[in-house]
């Protein structure tokens, strides 16, 4: 039975237009992008665009982005960018989260030909991604707890202020 990828991975066809950090700790350059200065420059510019919060130029997305489905994105949460033109066979596979982008590898369309799609990418990174996503969930939970506690303290302070003003009013009016 196929296990769905955790919901933390965004399944948007494009990179969101908001600043994101970019990581690549388990990166593999199977397509040799780093050996080709022109491709390296394209990747550098795309990453700068993500950092600024401008998303990625349309030229890096697949040609049928608004027409057909991307099995890898839908099933595993892994999207890809094209380097060297929209129809090129040089792809950068990545995962998009709300606050970051994790580059996985450069390769050809090979990962669309496996069943399920992308199983060989995940074989290399699944454990590391699992740990990272667990950390992200824990951090989100901590932030939620802190926000709830802060709200509770504000409400408590407001109640105390209200009680004090009522008491002052009663004292002034000679009710007590």
């Amino acid at each position: 039975m196929r296990r769905p990828a955790p919901a933390l991975r965004l399944r948007l066809p494009r990179i969101e237009k908001k600043p994101k950090r970019i990581f690549a700790e388990r990166w593999h350059d199977f397509a040799g992008v780093t050996k080709t200065p022109a491709l390296m420059e394209e990747l550098f510019q795309a990453l700068q665009s993500i950092k600024r919060g401008d998303g990625v130029p349309e030229a890096h997305y697949r040609a049928g982005i608004d027409r057909d489905r991307d099995a890898l994105l839908e099933e595993q949460g892994i999207m890809h960018l094209h380097l060297g033109g929209r129809d090129s066979d040089i792809l950068v596979f990545l995962i998009q989260y709300s606050d970051r982008v994790v580059l996985l590898e450069s390769n050809t369309h090979v990962h669309f030909r496996t069943s399920p799609a992308g199983k060989n990418i995940l074989a290399l990174t699944q454990s590391w991604l699992g740990n990272m996503e667990q950390e992200m969930r824990a951090a989100a939970e901590t932030a939620r707890t802190a926000a709830v506690e802060a709200e509770r303290q504000v409400a408590e302070a407001r109640r105390a202020e209200l009680a004090a003003s009522i008491a002052a009013f009663k004292a002034k009016a000679g009710l007590e």
């Binding site: 970019i22 990166w27 993500i50």
Partner: protein, 89 residues
């Protein structure tokens, strides 16, 4: 016929006849021995960490450094980025 008298072997051949609690010089008391047996048994004892647990903790700490302590690629220069992605860094 001579009567045989059995005698306990003794290093000195003399017997210490003093009975009762032994007196110890001040400051020589071993406090760990002074703890009542029941209390010592119920006292919390640190569990020993296994080697597997240590390895898992070490790997988790390394992973945490990877995805929380690393520099974003967006903050790198062209050359730094190329070096990192090509595995030279």
């Amino acid at each position: 016929m001579a009567r045989q008298i059995s005698k306990r072997p003794s290093s000195t051949g003399t017997r210490n006849t003093a009975r009762g609690p032994r007196l110890m010089p001040a400051g020589s008391v071993d406090v760990t021995q002074a703890i009542p047996r029941k209390l010592a048994a119920s006292a919390p004892v640190a569990r020993e960490e296994t080697i597997e647990e240590r390895l898992v903790a070490k790997a988790a700490a390394a992973d945490r450094r990877d995805y929380t302590g690393q520099r974003s690629l967006g903050d790198m220069s062209r050359e730094e980025l190329r070096a990192l992605l090509s595995g030279e860094a």
